[in-house]
């Protein structure tokens, strides 16, 4: 009898926990949706911010484009390095010591607070390398921010590839590089893309790495890699932080959340596709 009560309490606890989390998310979405949907119209999405102080009127078009571009640069920069690192660790690195050293570094990287990363980007990219507050500086900083995320997932995927398939390829006299590009990476493609999109979403939502490296209160759609940009999370921060327009802030938050939702859905679809293909 006592066991059954214990069992019952435990189950209730689990269900309640799940329920609370789900409710918080639903409430958050719902609240922002209800407050934000009013300010979203064609002008809000497609025009530049206007008014004094700036942002009180007009739209957030440059911020949307800025955020997407920052995400793109971060993903390109980060995935090249992350995938290469993962390939090295899984297929080429023979020394356990070097492997665990690399893993240690990556763990440390993922533990660095994002504002510290922002300061690092500011010191190295903006000041020392002279990129200025720009799309490039912000993109690279965000790239460093999401590097551990992509690397860890890609490494896991590569490790999961059936060893016997790789051996069969070698048994045909085929080189390691050909095997890598024609078998291993195609097998992992969906997983890798899904990791990159998720990480992209991560990068897009992050404000602190770009506060000092890329984002400004107002800029047109960037013309070059060295132009400063607007970004959704930073714009949101300014709108609320400076008390410019709460209404516009809700609108911005909604747009940001919807973009992230789309990115996550893409990543989920890719995952489902992968499972079907196996």
């Amino acid at each position: 009898m006592l066991e059954r009560i214990k069992d019952y309490l435990f189950k209730t606890w689990l269900i309640m926990s799940a329920l609370i989390v789900v409710l918080v998310v639903v409430f958050l979405f719902g609240y922002i949706f209800i407050n934000g949907i009013g300010s979203i119209d064609k002008e809000f999405l497609l025009s530049e911010p206007k008014g004094i102080p700036i942002g009180i009127e007009g739209g957030i078009f440059p911020a949307i484009i800025g955020s997407l571009l920052l995400m793109l640069i971060a993903c390109v920069f980060s995935s090249i390095l992350a995938i290469s690192t993962a390939i090295y660790v899984v297929f080429y690195c023979k020394s356990e010591r070097i492997k665990s050293f690399i893993h240690l570094i990556i763990q440390c990287m993922s533990g660095v607070p994002s504002i510290v990363l922002g300061l690092f980007g500011y010191a190295l990219l903006v000041l020392y390398l002279g990129f200025g507050r720009s799309l490039l500086s912000g993109g690279i900083t965000l790239g460093i921010f999401i590097f551990p995320f992509i690397q860890i997932r890609v490494e896991k995927t590569l490790k999961e590839v059936d060893k016997s398939i790789i051996t069969s390829s070698y048994a045909l006299g085929v080189s390691e590089v050909y095997t890598l590009f024609k078998i291993i990476l195609p097998i992992c493609r969906a997983d890798i893309i899904s990791a990159i999109t998720l990480a992209g979403g991560f990068a897009m939502g992050a404000a602190s790495p770009i506060i000092l490296t890329a984002a400004v209160m107002f800029a047109p759609v960037p013309e070059s890699l060295f132009s400063p940009v607007m970004a959704l999370p930073f714009h949101l921060y300014i709108l609320t932080g400076e008390g410019i327009s709460l209404e516009k802030a809700y609108g911005t938050a909604l747009v940001l959340m919807l973009l992230l939702l789309v990115i996550n859905i893409i990543s989920i679809i890719l995952n489902i596709k992968r499972k079907e293909s196996r």
Partner: protein, 247 residues
């Protein structure tokens, strides 16, 4: 004629000696079966011959002559191309049938679409899959049945035109009907290729092979024509093994 001459071969993984001073010659265009209890070093022998050993972290001493030349004097990839290998578990690449069969030819520089198509068709005909799969070349190879997968893998090994085909218990994951298919196929192929098959299944060795080698604890106990091994073995241990007293 001997296509392979193995001389005083010893193989070890780290400190563990798996094959001890083994010498045997493999005859061209014959089927040679290698039998013995689990863990006696049969599979290791195959991986040594096509130089996959170091991939698995082992090393060998002694000499293997392939067509009279030391195997180490060839490029590794040439050895593996000329000595194909098929594994116990079917290992089709998770792509289409067509891609499975064009994978290696493309690597060796064949780009011509028509040539590639010919290779695919001829290979499928060789391994008896043509009628079953001719309209389904784009089907994923992982969706094929176990027997079809294994025949496809044998076919894939043939696409690079090897001289020798090594098979590591190719039928152990298959049912009787598929096993019979593969055995028939191997008989067919032995006209053009030299086949070395490791098998657990004594009656299989008896059915298909011309020569049989019995290995125990990494040592070659007896190696002779299959008939002699099964009817009149010289060594007591061979006799006991083929009669099923141990193993």
């Amino acid at each position: 004629m001997n296509v392979l001459e193995i001389k005083n071969l010893s193989v070890s993984y780290g400190d563990k000696l798996v094959i001890k001073d083994l010498s045997m010659d493999i005859k061209k265009n014959k089927i040679t079966a290698v039998i013995g209890p689990s863990g006696c070093g049969k599979s290791t022998l195959l991986t040594t011959i096509n130089l996959l050993l170091e991939e698995n972290g082992g090393q060998f001493t002694g000499q293997i002559l392939f067509n009279g030349k030391d195997i180490l004097s060839y490029e590794k990839k040439d050895v593996r191309r000329m000595i194909g290998m098929v594994f116990q578990k079917p290992t089709p690449f998770p792509f289409s049938v067509y891609k499975n069969l064009t994978y290696a030819p493309k690597y060796y520089g064949i780009r011509d679409k028509k040539k590639l198509k010919d290779i695919v068709e001829n290979t499928l005909k060789r391994v008896g899959l043509y009628e079953e799969l001719k309209d389904e070349l784009n089907r994923s190879a992982t969706k094929l049945s176990g027997g079809q997968q294994q025949r496809l893998c044998i076919g894939r090994a043939l696409t690079v035109e090897p001289e020798i085909l090594l098979l590591d218990e190719p039928c152990s994951a298959l049912d009787i009907k598929n096993t019979a298919n593969i055995e028939r196929l191997l008989k067919e192929l032995s006209k053009d290729y030299t086949i070395v098959i490791v098998t657990h299944n004594l009656s299989q060795a008896k059915r298909i092979s011309d020569y049989t080698a019995f290995i125990l604890d990494g040592k070659l106990i007896e190696y002779d024509e299959t008939k002699k091994i099964f009817s009149n073995p010289k060594d007591r241990r061979t006799k006991e093994y083929v009669e099923g007293i141990f193993g």
